[in-house]
C-alpha cells in the first residue's frame, strides 16, 4: 500500500500511550481503542510495549471463526469482525497466538486493529504510527527502515510448531532470525524446523 509497511519496536516505547488515545480518535473506531498496550513488569522495569494486530498472512482468527466474520483484504490487512456476522463467541480471542482480538461488550462484537483501513487505503498513515512520539510504531517504507534503524525487521514467528508470517514487522536485534517465544522451540525435537536451521 503505497510502499509503506508497519514496524513495531518495543525498545523505543516510552509508555506514553499516545497510540491508545489516538486510536480511539480514528473516525472508524469512534471511542474504542484497538491498541494492545502493556507494562511488561512495572515493579521490575519501566519497559512497556504497544502493539497493533500483526495481520497474519494466514490469520488464525479467521481460521477458527465459526461465522466466517473475519476477512483478509487483498492488500493483506485483516479486518475487525463483520458486524452482521460476528456472534461474539470469542474463538478468535482465544486462538490468536498474539492475543490481539478483543470482544467489545458494548457492541457484542470482536474488534481489533484494522490498521486504520479508512486512512491507509487512502494513502494516509495509521493514527497510532502517525502520533507515536518515539516511533516505536512506525509506518514507513522498507527502504527507510533499512537506512535509519540498527534493528532488523522480522515477520516470521514460531508458536510451538505453528509458523506464522505476518504483514507487520517486529524490529529485532541485527543478528536475530525468526522469532520463537517458547523454550521448547529451542530444544531438540527432531521435527522443529527452526532448530534444524540453527544447526
Amino acid at each position: 500500500m503505497f510502499g509503506r509497511e508497519f514496524y513495531v519496536d518495543p525498545s523505543r516505547c516510552i509508555g506514553c500511550q499516545s497510540c491508545l488515545k489516538a486510536c480511539e480518535e480514528c473516525e472508524t473506531h469512534r471511542g474504542v481503542s484497538m491498541i494492545n498496550f502493556d507494562f511488561v513488569d512495572r515493579e521490575e522495569s519501566i519497559a512497556t510495549a504497544a502493539y497493533v494486530c500483526w495481520h497474519c498472512d494466514d490469520p488464525t482468527c479467521a481460521q477458527v471463526c465459526p461465522a466466517d466474520a473475519i476477512k483478509k483484504y487483498e492488500d493483506g490487512i485483516v479486518g475487525s469482525s463483520l458486524k452482521p456476522r460476528c456472534i461474539g463467541c470469542s474463538n478468535c480471542v482465544l486462538a490468536c497466538p498474539f492475543g490481539i482480538p478483543k470482544l467489545v461488550p458494548q457492541y457484542e462484537q470482536m474488534m481489533k486493529c484494522d490498521m486504520c483501513y479508512d486512512r491507509t487505503s487512502a494513502g494516509k498513515r495509521p493514527m497510532c504510527a502517525t502520533v507515536c512520539p518515539s516511533q516505536a510504531l512506525a509506518y514507513v517504507t522498507p527502504e527507510t527502515i533499512a537506512a535509519t534503524r540498527r534493528e532488523k525487521p522480522v515477520n516470521t514467528f514460531w508458536f510451538g510448531s505453528q509458523k506464522i508470517t505476518t504483514k507487520v514487522y517486529m524490529m529485532a536485534p541485527r543478528d536475530a532470525g525468526e522469532i520463537a517465544i517458547d523454550v521448547a522451540d529451542y530444544t531438540w525435537e527432531g521435527e522443529n524446523e527452526l532448530v534444524l536451521q540453527a544447526f
Partner: protein
C-alpha cells in the same frame, strides 16, 4: 478576605473537575452535519508546542488530525495533544464572570465584574500604595498576552510586582545561560539532537515530560550516538542509555563538577576554542579541582568509573549535546547546575555547531516566549533589563510614557506570595496561574490567599486557586485567541483562533484592555486584535536580545516558524546561535562561571531520612487545571502514587497498593505506594499535579535559588510510614 468561596464539595459539584470523555454530541453523531474544517495550529500543553490540526464544526472542537508537514513534530503527538480538544465544550467551562457571594459565586455582568475589579485594585493601591497590588501571569499565555500583562502591571496599575509561573520552570536555566552566554535561549534547533554523537540528558525525563523529543534522541541512537542519562529515577529513556548515572537528588552539581574535573585533568578541553571565545576558564577549572570523581561519588551516589566514562564520552566528542530540564533546575543551586552544564559544553568546544551544544528543555506551553517580553519582574520586552536606562527609554518611547514612570524591578512569584502572607501585598490579579497547586508549601500558600483584601482571577475553569477569588473573569482558551508562542527551540509559531469563546466569556486580551480602560489608562491599551498587540511587541523588542522585529504572522506561516533573533523583515531567523563564535555579551565572549557546592535547603536527617523528589507524568500538564478534566488522561494515571524502591519498602513493610503517609517538615499527605526498582533506594517520588490532600506541594519547601528564585521542588526530606486509607474526599 479570600477564603475559598464555599465548601470543597459544593465547589466541585458546580465547577468540577468533571471528566470529559467524548466529542460534542458523542462518537456517533458526526456525520451529515455542518461542514468540518481543519485548523493548523499548535498544542496548548508543554513547550514542545507540537503542530496539530484541530477539527472544528459549528464553532466546536470535535477532534484532531495530525499535522505531518509541521517540521518539529511531523504529526507526532503525546496523549495530552491527542485529547487536548476535549477541553473545549467542557461542562466545567466558566461561561460568565463570577462574583463572590456569602455562600459561593454568582454569575455577574461584565460591567459589574470589571468595575468591581478596577475599583478594588485602585482602592487597595490608594490605601496601601501602588506596590501593594501584584500581578501573576503565566507561561501558557500567548506572547501577545504575556507582553500585555507586563505592560498592564507597569502602565495601568503602576506596580513593581509582576511575575509569572515560569518562575517555577525555566528561570534557573535562563539565568545561567544569560550569565554564561549572554542570552536566555536554547542555542540549538532540535534537529541538532538527531545529529549528535553523544547525548547526555540530566534531570530531564524526556519520555514523559517532552515526549516528542524522544524521537530526536532515538534518531541519534539509530546513527550510533551514545546516550548518557543522569536521574534519580530510571526514566523511560534510561532504558536505552549506554550509561545510566543514578544521581542522588540535589547532587547533580557534584557529578557535573567531577565531570569537568576529569575533562580538565585528562586534557579533553578544546584549548583553541577556550582561548578564542571565552573568559574565566582558569577560575572555573580551579573551582572543580577538589572535585575528583571519588569525592563526587560519595556525594552523588554515582560510581567514580561512571563519572570518568561520562566525562570521556563528552570530552572526546566533537558533537556532544547536554540536555537538561527541571530535575537540574528545581534546586536551590539550580543556576550553578546549569552553569556547570554550559561550562562542560564550553570547555570541550561543543557549542555553536550542528549536533553540539548545551540546551535547556523548556517545559511550559509558551515557556520560551512567555519569558521574553516583560512578564518577568525584572524584564522589559525583547529580553531587556528593567534596570538598563537605554532599555527603559526605548520601551517607554514605544509605550508613549516617560521612562521615569516605569516602575523598577519587583518580587518574583514565590516572593510575591511571601509578601502576601506577611501582609505587604494586599491585592492580587492572576491569570494562567494556579499557585495553590504549583507553589511549594501549599498550606502556606492557602494561608496567604486567605489574607488578601482583593483577589481577582482571569481563567476559563475554576482552578483551586480561583476558588479563593473575589471575582473570576471568564477568559479564553488557547484556541480562542490568535497569537504567537515560542517553542522549546525558540521557533516563534502561530497559534490560530480555531473557535470563538462562549458568548459571555471573553478573550483574555479584551479583558485586560477593558480593565486598563476602567483604570483610566485606556489610551495605552487601544488594541482591537492580537495582531495589533504583536505589531507593538515587534517594535518594543526591536534591538533587544529577543528581537522579533522581523517576524510577522505571515512569515511564520510561510516558514513554519521563525527562530528569534530576527531583526529585519528580510532576515530568515536564527535557528542556531553562536555559529560565528560570538556570544551575546558585550565582549563577544562566553563567560565561564565559577562553581561552588551548597547543600539543599531541606536536608535529610534522622527524623526525615528519605529524599523526596517531585515531577510530572505524561498524561497530566502542570497544576492539572485543564488535564484533570479530560477523562482519557485522568484514566491513564488517576491519582498520585508514591514510587518507592523495594529495598526501602521492605524495611517499612510496604507493598504496592498499600496506603502510606509521607511526612515532611511542613505537612503530611497519604497516598498509595507503587513499589518499583526504577528509583534510588534512598529516594521516593510523587508527581505534583493534584490539589489538597493529594498535593505533593504540601510537602515541598520554599527555599529558593538565590539568583533565579526558583523553588527547590526536586529535593525535600521526608519520612514514610504505612497508613490507613484516607477518608473519602480528603
Amino acid at each position: 478576605m479570600a477564603k475559598a468561596a464555599a465548601s470543597l464539595d459544593e465547589l466541585q459539584r458546580r465547577f468540577g473537575p468533571h471528566l470529559n470523555y467524548n466529542p460534542p454530541g458523542g462518537w456517533h453523531s458526526q456525520s451529515g452535519q455542518a461542514e468540518e474544517k481543519l485548523v493548523k495550529t499548535h498544542c496548548c500543553f508543554c513547550g514542545q508546542q507540537c503542530g496539530i490540526q484541530l477539527k472544528v464544526r459549528d464553532n466546536r472542537l470535535t477532534g484532531f488530525e495530525p499535522w505531518e508537514e509541521f517540521p518539529f513534530n511531523r504529526g507526532m503527538l503525546c496523549p495530552k495533544g491527542v485529547k487536548r480538544y476535549l477541553q473545549g465544550n467542557h461542562p466545567d467551562r466558566l461561561l460568565d464572570p463570577l462574583v463572590r457571594t456569602a455562600g459561593g459565586f454568582r454569575a455577574g455582568s461584565w460591567d459589574e465584574a470589571l468595575d468591581f475589579t478596577a475599583r478594588r485594585l485602585r482602592e487597595v493601591q490608594e490605601k496601601y500604595g501602588p506596590d501593594s497590588v501584584a500581578v501573576y501571569g503565566g507561561a501558557s499565555l500567548t506572547t501577545e498576552k504575556a507582553y500585555l500583562m507586563g505592560k498592564f502591571a507597569r502602565v495601568a496599575l503602576g506596580t513593581r510586582h509582576i511575575d509569572y509561573n515560569g518562575r517555577l520552570c525555566m528561570v534557573s536555566a535562563g539565568t545561567a545561560y544569560k550569565a554564561a552566554l549572554g542570552v536566555d535561549r536554547a542555542p540549538n534547533p532540535w534537529a541538532d539532537i538527531a545529529k549528535a554523537e553523544v547525548l547526555m540528558a540530566i534531570g530531564a525525563n524526556i519520555g514523559e515530560c517532552a515526549p516528542i523529543t524522544t524521537d530526536y534522541v532515538w534518531r541519534a541512537r539509530d546513527q550510533g550516538a551514545k546516550l548518557i542519562v543522569a536521574d534519580p529515577r530510571f526514566t523511560p529513556i534510561a532504558r536505552n542509555a549506554d550509561l545510566y548515572l543514578p544521581v542522588r537528588p540535589g547532587t547533580d552539581l557534584a557529578l557535573l563538577m567531577a565531570m569537568l574535573h576529569v575533562i580538565v585533568r585528562d586534557g579533553l578541553t578544546d584549548r583553541a576554542f577556550i582561548d578564542a571565545h571565552t573568559t574565566g576558564f582558569e577560575k572555573t577549572a580551579q573551582s572543580v579541582e577538589a572535585w575528583n570523581p571519588q569525592r563526587a561519588a560519595e556525594v552523588s551516589g554515582v560510581a567514580p568509573e561512571a563519572i570518568e566514562k561520562a566525562a570521556h564520552l563528552i570530552g572526546e566528542s566533537r558533537r556532544a549535546m547536554l540536555l537538561h530540564a527541571r530535575g537540574l533546575e528545581h534546586q536551590s543551586k539550580g543556576v550553578e547546575n546549569c552553569e556547570a552544564v554550559v561550562a562542560i559544553a564550553l570547555a570541550t568546544g561543543n557549542i555553536g555547531r550542528e549536533g553540539a551544544g548545551a540546551v535547556m528543555i523548556t517545559g511550559q506551553g509558551n515557556g520560551q516566549g512567555g519569558r521574553e517580553h516583560g512578564q518577568k519582574c525584572d524584564q522589559l520586552p525583547g529580553q531587556r533589563s528593567l534596570t538598563d536606562p537605554a532599555a527603559r527609554r526605548h520601551v517607554a518611547q514605544v509605550w508613549g510614557i516617560a521612562p521615569e514612570d516605569l516602575p523598577g524591578p519587583g518580587y518574583t512569584a514565590v516572593e510575591i506570595m511571601n509578601a502576601v502572607h506577611r501582609g505587604e501585598i494586599k491585592g492580587l490579579l492572576s491569570i494562567c496561574f494556579n499557585p495553590l497547586v504549583s507553589l511549594p508549601d501549599a498550606n502556606f500558600t492557602r494561608e496567604a490567599l486567605e489574607r488578601l483584601e482583593f483577589f481577582g482571577v482571569i481563567d476559563f475553569f475554576l482552578s483551586e486557586t480561583a476558588a479563593h477569588a473575589d471575582v473570576v473573569l471568564a477568559g479564553s482558551l488557547q484556541e480562542e485567541e490568535e497569537g504567537v508562542t515560542a517553542n522549546v527551540e525558540a521557533r516563534v509559531i502561530h497559534i490560530q483562533q480555531a473557535v470563538e469563546p462562549p458568548p459571555n466569556a471573553r478573550r483574555d486580551s479584551e479583558i485586560i484592555c477593558e480593565l486598563a480602560r476602567r483604570l483610566g489608562r485606556g489610551r495605552y491599551f487601544s488594541f482591537q486584535t492580537p495582531r495589533e498587540i504583536f505589531e507593538e511587541l515587534r517594535r518594543a523588542s526591536q534591538g533587544g536580545l529577543a528581537d522579533y522585529y522581523g517576524i510577522t504572522y505571515e512569515k511564520i506561516d510561510r516558514q513554519m516558524g521563525v527562530f528569534w533573533p530576527c531583526p529585519t523583515l528580510e532576515h530568515p531567523g536564527t535557528p542556531r546561535l553562536f555559529e560565528d563564535g560570538r556570544f551575546f555579551h558585550p565582549d563577544g565572549k562566553a563567560h565561564f562561571m565559577s562553581l561552588a557546592w551548597r547543600d539543599s535547603g531541606d536536608p535529610v536527617d534522622g527524623e526525615f531520612p528519605v529524599y523526596l523528589t517531585t515531577g510530572r507524568v505524561v498524561s497530566q500538564y502542570l497544576s492539572g487545571t485543564q488535564t484533570r478534566r479530560i477523562g482519557a488522561l485522568v484514566d491513564q494515571y488517576p491519582a498520585p502514587k508514591l514510587e518507592i524502591h523495594p529495598r526501602l519498602a521492605e524495611q517499612l513493610g510496604i507493598r504496592t497498593g498499600d496506603w502510606v503517609r509521607v511526612t515532611s517538615r511542613r505537612s503530611a499527605i497519604t497516598l498509595q505506594a507503587m513499589v518499583v526498582r526504577t528509583i534510588r533506594p534512598d529516594t521516593v517520588f510523587i508527581p505534583y499535579h493534584w490539589p489538597a490532600g493529594r498535593s505533593a506541594n504540601r510537602l515541598t519547601h520554599r527555599t529558593l535559588d538565590p539568583r533565579s528564585k526558583i523553588p527547590e521542588f526536586k529535593v525535600s526530606a521526608c519520612r514514610i510510614e504505612k497508613a490507613a486509607a484516607p477518608a473519602e474526599g480528603a
